[in-house]
Structure formats: C-alpha cells, structure tokens
C-alpha cells in the first residue's frame, strides 16, 4: 500500500486542528466581548465546541482513502496492542498453534492411512469377500476362507471378477549370481493384477494354467526388485530365476507406481485348492464388481451362493452370511478404530484450544474494560473500538495459523514416521492444506466470536461506572460465570483425554509386564526361510537343524542353541485337534497354538519345566509322537486330571508341562499379547507335508543363549548357517525385546499419541485456569485492599482466591470423570488386562488434574500476599 494517502491525511489532520483552534479563538473573542474573563472565555469556548479529539477522529476517518486503509491502520494498532501484552499474545498464539498443528498432522496422516481412496482405477468397485457373523447382537467379520469356499464362489458368482490371494507377504529365498537374498513374496491368484486394474509394465500376469496345483513355477517381479537385482533388464521376461530353491520363470514385471495389498518384492501363483493349505481358512478373496452390477445385486447373489457353505454356522443364536466389503474397508479394518480414536482425540484438543482461547479473550477484554471506557470517554468512536478488536482477533488468528502451519509440518513428518512402522500406508503422506485451512478457520471463528462478543459489550460499557472502578466494585462473582464455565468445560474434556490415555498406557504397561514366562536377556535369534524346494523333505530340515545347532553348540560363549517355528511374543501357528480321551471335549474340535522346537528351546529361553520331561534327541520320526503343553493348555483342555500321558488326537502323548509364555494369537480373544494354550512338538517328529505348509507361512528361527557380545554371536549364527547351507540367507537377527516391541508397536503408538494429546489438554487447561485466577486477582485488587483494610487476614483473602479457581476445577474433574467412565466403553476393545473403569487410572487422572489445578490457581493467587491495602486504596 502506498504511503501517499496517509501523508495526505496527516496534512488534513493538521489543517483540521488549526481550523478547530481558529473556532476556539473566535468564540473566546466573542465571550470576552460579552464580559467574561479570558480564562472563563476560553473554557466556555471549549465547552461550546465539544470534544476536539472526537471531532478530529471523526474527520480523520473521513479522510481514510478506502476501507482497506482503515483496516491497515487498525491492524497496526492491533499489532501494537498485542505487542504490549506479550504474555497474553504468546499464550493465545501457542494455544491456537497447538490446535491447528495437531489437527493438521493427525488428519494428514489419517487421510493417507485410512481415508483417501486406494491407488487403483475405480477403487470403489473393488471388494473383499467376508463372512459376516451376528452372534447375540455382536457383529464380526471373518476375512479368511477355505479352499472349498473359494471353489464354490468361483463357480457361482457372476456379478464380480474374483481372485483368491494372500493379503500379506512372506519371506522366501532368492538366489542370483550375486548371492542368496531373503525377499518378500506375495502369493496371488490368476487375475489379481487385472482385478486391481494395473497391468504389468512388461510381460503378463499369471494364467489359469499356472495358478492351479502342480502348475509350472512362475513369478512376477516388482519394479524395485527388477531394478536392484536384475539391472532393469527388459529381457528378464521368459528367463529363469532360482526362487525357493527351484527355477521359476519370470513372466512379468510390475510398474514402479504399483502398490499391492502388501509390501512385496515379487508375486507367485497361490494355486488354491480344497486340499492341504485350502483345508483351513487360509485364503483371502478379493474382486471387482462387473460393470453395471449394483452392490445390492452383487451382495444378494453372494449371500445366496455362499449360503450352502454356512449351514453349520447358522444356529439359533448366530447368523452368518457371505458379504462384499469394499476393499478399502477390508484393508483398513484394523486401523479404522485406532485412527478414528486419534481423530476424535485431536478434535477434543482443538475444542479445548478454542475454549482456552475464548477464556483468554474474555479475560483480556474484561481487564481492558477500563481502557475501553477511557478511550470512549476521550471521544474514540464506538465503531473504531469495535474494529480494532476485530483486527486484534484477526492478527492473533494469523499468528496462530502461521505457528500452526510450522507445527503441523513438523508433526506430519514425525507422525508419518511413526505411522509407517505401524500401518500400511496407501498413499504418500502430505501436509493437508484443506485441514490446515479448516482448523485455522475454526480458530479464526473462535477468536472472532470471543473477541467480538466482549467487544460489543465493551462498546456499550457504561463509561462512568467503568471509570469509577465499577468493574472492581461490582460483585465479580456474577460476572465471571462465562469464564468459569469455560474452565469447567476444558477441564472435563481434559479428564476424558487423560483417562483414555491412562487406560491405554496401563494396557501397554500390562502387556509389557505380563509375566513373560521366559528370560530373553542374552538371547539372539536368526530367522530364515525354509519355504524352499531343498527343504520340502522333513529329513532335510531335521538334518539342517542338527548340523547348524551342532556347530553353534561348539562355539565358545554359546551356552544353548535351539530352533523353533515361532518365538515368544510372536504370532504363533494355530491348529485344530481332538481330545478323544476327554469326557468333556470328546466331540469337539479344539484350537491351540502349535510350535515345533528342538530339545534345547526351553533352556535357551529359560522356560520352566513344571512336570514331566523335556524333549530329547531320541524323540524322532520313528519313536512315539510326544508333545509338551503349557499351563494354559492344561487349564483349558485337560482340567484337573493328570496331564501327563494324555493323548492328543488319540496318538500324541503329553510328556511334559511347561510354564506359560506370552504369544500373539490370532484366534480366541486373548488380547494382543497373552498366554494362550500351546503345544510344543519336536521338530524331528514333524511330517513333511505339514512342514512344507508351515514354512510357507512362517520363517522359523535359530536361537542361542550366549555370554559373548552380540556382534560375535551374530557372526557365529551367520557362519553356522553359511557353513551348512551357503545358499540360505539369514532374514534378520533379532533380540526378544525387539520382537516384543514389534508385536506391540500399535499399542505403543496409540498410548504415546493419546498421551501426547492428553498432555496438551492438561497444559492447556492449566493455562486456562491460571488465566482465570490471575485475571480475577487483577480485577479484585481493590476489593482485596478494602477487605484487608477492614481486617481480613491475607490468608483468608488468599484462600478465597484459590477457591475461586478450585471450584470450577473440581466441578470439571467430577463432570469429566463421569463422562470419561462412559467414554471408556468405546475403548473396551483396546483395553487389556485392566477393567475400563480401572480405579488406579481414574484416581491418578483425578489427582493429577487437581494437582495441576491447585498449582495453576495458587501461583497467581500468591500475588495477593504482596498487596499493600493502603496503596491499593489510594490508586483510584
């Protein structure tokens, strides 16, 4: 904006000053003529003219060249005024920035994880087949299907193009000239890429011939693997690569932009069948609705075709039905609730920010009522005062918005980093400007509403009353109710967030400290893929373990060495079995985790043997099949009778009982990490077909207990594997702490994020309460002076001030506790090991908030101690 109009206006202003002076001179002359003394004459002239300041101000405004310029002036004035009250400005701006920043970051990440459509053509037509259960009012989905179900749906469904696949990827060995490498393989059926709508960059996808049991071994490569291991050689198609110990023909390469449902390096045909793997629920089924087919029609046909598969599942109190779920809903099933929770909490934080801001503005306005009254008394136009308040609000919002943008950018980077370890992210995470604008808009609205309402009030201020100290004389209790209500509101919101965070933190702590049942210190593990043609024979697997463990046992520093299909804290394989010798369970199929191990497994992990014996080298394929079960298994299935000597499936003899260890189980309702019934079986007694199947799902681990430094132990593990099988790469080295951290990464993320939100809420409500009390101290200084002069002790005045802060705080805490108790029910699926009304959490939250409230009300109240009644009373 040019400065020229401002100069012109200043000239005008000087001119009008002269003109008014001229009037005064003429009127004074006239009055002297009438016989007044010069002094009286001049005073009378001023009286006749009226207030020169106001007149000049009025004219000054008329000179304003345009609307914009008036605003420019108001903004500058507002900036000056904000600079004068630095504490207020800083608090308000930081409050705004926290609200805007947190919301922008959380929404940006949620958008990428949950909300944005999948990166495929026409993503809204993509579906996943689920079985929908409704049992006693509780609904659930089953996403995996048996081979038989796939065959029925493949034959019967015409409304959608369907394919069986694994939604996740598993590890396999890829051998090239450069050595063996552990890569991630996703097994998908013919048509998988067609259905997703992404054709291969070169070559083709699998044919029906290749996707049936016994079909030729083929693979499709990801762009990154093709570039990394095959130097982007376009002639790769048709060539053979050594995958899983077997030559596979490469038939295609996917484009760089393609993202599958899992993070995969290559794809191989899943070859679905009703036998083997297909005997259990091991397939996902996805598809694309055919053109012109409605969801209702597709669902109708699916329910009808699938009904024959569910005759057993449909009972008097349970309904089961095949349904199409949108693929997006299917893929985000596990992330939906935590992300929605996060969005909800960040929304509450924004609400608290707005409440806090409102409180700050109200307090500031009340504190300024005297300033306002003075300006009005000096002739400042009401519209002027009004406009300046708006200008201040705008400036505040702009400042908060800018800080919020910075915070939001940092937050988005940090949060997406955390989220990447936890969730599948479908889209690149980018700062969401829409959200930034939306939250900034909410903040602006708040600051306008709460900056303006008091401004209107101020512009109606009764000047005489305000100037005479009416604000401090009038009963303040009645006038503070909006501020107090705001404090009650923000404290109760904080209680809700703190309680939620507390429950999740307690859950996380519980999961981390559930008696582990093993000792992981000094243990290092190396996982490897035995999903390999060379290990399809059980004898080869046993031989490999014997040779590798033999080498490790001879290594200095290594006390014990063992192998196991899965480790504690990992998701374990589960299987169905029968107990024909149990009167209670004779007729039922039962479920248990199953882990094959070598004899020293329990010693490496120091899992206590409670009864019977450990496995021995003499437990072989030729000897009596044996198993060792854990305490949970005994409790759940064997009852009080003697467990030793019982027979699983009528043949496998229970020879020992070991202590429970934590597992992640994907059956039952044990929580993310808890002891679950488990059977340990000797690796040497596994059958070839079962081993082959288990190894397509799990990469087993070698594990050693060693007193040597971990680098030395790692080298020993690497050497032992390389000596026994140079073609076999080690997938990863992990400690048991790392495994647990990996399993609990979601719980940790949820607890951490909620704790951050709750801490923000606590800080904000502390600031809000502090503001309320500090403001009332300033306002009631005069009242305190009078009371002290009349004999009230400082202690009494002090306690009345503290009480003015604690009363709304206590109301807020009580209200919040009631609301939080109700809200805890929403969290019930995320809480483990503690009741939703956990007394410790609630007591802790209440104590913490009361403590913060006490500090926030005491600190400003202490000012009262420095009051000198005599001085206070002289002030006015």
């Amino acid at each position: 904006m040019s400065w020229f109009p401002l100069r012109r206006r200043d000239r005008h202003d000087r001119e009008s000053a002269e003109e008014l002076a001229s009037y005064i001179d003429h009127e004074t002359d006239l009055n002297i003529e009438r016989g007044m003394s010069p002094e009286d004459a001049r005073a009378a002239a001023f009286h006749k003219l009226g207030n020169p300041t106001r007149i000049r101000e009025e004219m000054y405004e008329m000179f304003s060249v345009d609307w914009l310029e008036g605003w420019w002036r108001d903004l500058r004035q507002g900036a000056r005024s904000l600079r004068r009250s630095r504490t207020f400005t800083l608090t308000a701006a930081v409050t705004l920035a926290l609200g805007i920043g947190a919301n922008t970051a959380v929404f940006s990440v949620s958008d990428a994880v949950l909300l944005r459509p999948l990166p495929f053509p026409q993503p809204e037509r993509l579906v996943q087949v689920v079985v929908h259960f409704k049992t006693q009012g509780r609904e659930s989905h089953q996403v995996s299907h048996a081979g038989r179900a796939w065959e029925v749906l493949r034959e019967g469904i015409t409304t959608a193009d369907l394919v069986a696949c694994k939604m996740g990827a598993g590890g396999v060995n890829l051998a090239t000239g450069a050595g063996a490498e552990y890569v991630r393989q996703q097994r998908v059926g013919a048509g998988f890429f067609r259905i997703l709508g992404v054709p291969p960059l070169i070559g083709r996808e699998f044919t029906g011939e290749e996707d049936r049991p016994g079909g030729p071994p083929v693979a499709v490569l990801s762009h990154s693997l093709w570039r990394r291991r095959f130097s982007s050689d376009p002639a790769i198609v048709g060539r053979s690569i050594l995958l899983k110990g077997e030559p596979h023909t490469v038939v295609g390469v996917m484009p760089e932009s393609f993202q599958s449902t899992a993070n995969a390096d290559l794809w191989t045909p899943i070859r679905p069948s009703a036998e083997g793997e297909g005997g259990g629920m091991n397939y996902s089924i996805i598809g694309r609705l055919r053109d012109g087919v409605t969801w209702a029609a597709a669902n109708g046909q699916l329910a009808q075709v699938g009904s024959s598969l569910l005759t057993k599942a449909n009972t008097a109190d349970s309904r089961a039905e095949f349904r199409f779920l949108s693929l997006q809903d299917g893929l985000t099933q596990d992330t939906r609730r935590p992300i929605l929770l996060l969005l909800g909490t960040v929304g509450i934080v924004l609400l608290i920010c707005c409440v806090n801001l409102a409180g700050l503005l109200l307090a500031r306005c009340a504190a300024r009522s005297r300033e306002m009254a003075t300006r009005l008394a000096l002739g400042g136009g009401r519209s002027h005062v009004f406009r300046q308040m708006i200008a201040e609000s705008l400036l505040l919002a702009a400042l908060g918005g800018a800080l919020g943008l910075a915070l939001g950018t940092l937050g988005t980077i940090g949060l997406s980093h955390i989220a990447r370890q936890t969730y599948d992210i479908w889209q690149p995470v980018s700062l969401d400007l829409r959200v930034l604008c939306a939250t900034a808009g909410v903040a602006l609205l708040t600051s306008l509403v709460f900056g303006l309402a008091p401004a209107m009030y101020a512009s109606r201020t009764d000047i005489r009353e305000a100037l005479a100290g009416g604000a401090s004389r009038a009963s303040t209790a009645g006038r503070h109710w909006p501020g107090r209500l705001l404090v009650v509101a923000e404290i109760s919101l904080s209680v809700i967030l703190l309680a939620a965070a507390g429950l999740l933190i307690r859950t996380f702590a519980h999961l981390n400290t559930i008696s582990p049942g093993f000792d992981g210190s000094g243990v290092l593990t190396a996982s490897l893929s035995l999903d390999d043609a060379r290990y399809h024979d059980a004898a080869r697997v046993v031989q490999f373990y014997r040779d590798a463990l033999g080498r490790l046992s001879g290594t200095p520093g290594i006390e014990f060495a063992a192998a196991g299909l899965t480790l504690p804290d990992e998701t374990a394989l589960n299987t169905a079995f029968r107990l024909p010798d149990s009167p209670r369970f004779r007729e039922q199929w039962l479920t248990s985790n199953v882990i094959y191990v070598t004899p020293e497994y329990f010693r490496v992990l120091r899992i206590r043997l409670l009864r019977g014996r450990e496995f021995r080298d003499s437990d072989t394929a030729e000897s009596q099949p044996v198993t060792i079960v854990n305490e949970s298994f005994v409790r759940r299935y064997l009852g009080d009778s003697e467990p030793l000597g019982r027979r699983i499936d009528g043949k496998t003899e229970v020879v020992g009982v070991v202590a429970d260890v934590r597992h992640a189980s994907n059956w039952g309702n044990f929580g993310p990490l808890a002891p679950a019934p488990a059977m340990y079986v000797p690796a040497a007694q596994m059958e070839g077909e079962a081993l082959k199947l288990f190894h397509t799902w799990f990469s087993p681990s070698l594990l050693v207990r060693s007193s040597a430094p971990s680098a030395v132990t790692m080298q020993a593990l690497r050497d032992a594997v390389a000596k026994v099988d140079p073609e076999l790469p080690v997938a990863s080295f992990r400690t048991l702490d790392e495994i647990r951290a990996r399993t609990l990464v979601r719980q940790r993320m949820q607890a951490v994020l909620l704790a951050v939100m709750a801490a923000l809420a606590l800080l904000l409500s502390g600031v809000g309460l502090y503001g309320l009390v500090a403001h009332s101290v300033v306002e009631r200084t005069r009242e305190f002076g009078i009371r002290m002069a009349l004999g009230a002790t400082k202690g009494r005045v002090l306690s009345s001030v503290i009480a003015s802060g604690m009363t709304p705080a206590i109301c807020g805490v009580l209200l919040g506790a009631v609301l939080a108790r109700a809200a805890a029910r929403l969290l019930s699926t995320m809480i483990w090991g503690i009741p939703p009304g956990d007394p410790l959490t609630f007591a802790g939250v209440v104590t913490l908030l009361l403590l913060v409230a006490a500090v926030a009300s005491s600190v400003p109240a202490l000012k009262v101690l420095g009051l000198d009644p005599a001085r206070v009373l002289r002030l006015d």
Binding site: H26, L49, G50, N51, M62
Partner: protein, 114 residues
Amino acid sequence: MGKRRDGDLLLGTLDLLVLRTLALGPAHGHTIAHAIENGSEGVLEVEHGSLYPALYRLEEKGWIASYWGVSENNRKAKYYRLTPAGRKQLVKETNRWDRLAQAVNRILRPASTE
C-alpha cells in the same frame, strides 16, 4: 454521555442548514455555527464541533469549497463558499424538505390544515 451527534438531527438537516447559510455568502466555521444556532431560534441547538465533520463531508461531495483567509477579528480562518453544484443541491434539498414538511404536517394536523 448526553452528547448529541449530527446523526441525531434529522438526517440531512444539518447539511441543508449549512448550504442555506452559505447561500448568503462565504463564511468560516464559527460564523456558520452561530448563524445556524440563531436562525433556528435555539431549537436546533447543535454542539458546534459537530459542524466540522459535516463541512468536510460537503466539501468531499463538491457542494462547497474552502480557502484560508483572515476574519473580521483579524484572525486566520478557513472560509467556505457554495459551489454551483452546491447551489443546485440546495434547491433540490429545499424542495424535498418542503414536500416532506407538508406531508408531515398533513398527517399530524389534518384538522387545522382543512
């Protein structure tokens, strides 16, 4: 507060009175203020200060023009005079005012005008 602002006068009345006063010849603010006060026989008692914003507004509209001169008291003063546009406006406003006044009179005192 008890202060009357020009908006409290019937809208446009002050403008009309100023134009009417200047129709008799150029005058400075002090003179105009007293002329209006006297001319209305004290009925329209105006705080003299509120005259000045009105003068500026009229000048902005081009109905009056100003120049600095020396007054009868030998003091520096800002004089205002009517421009041709202002004269036209005065006629227009006077006619409008007459019509309005007649209308109001007819409504208020129908008996006395019959």
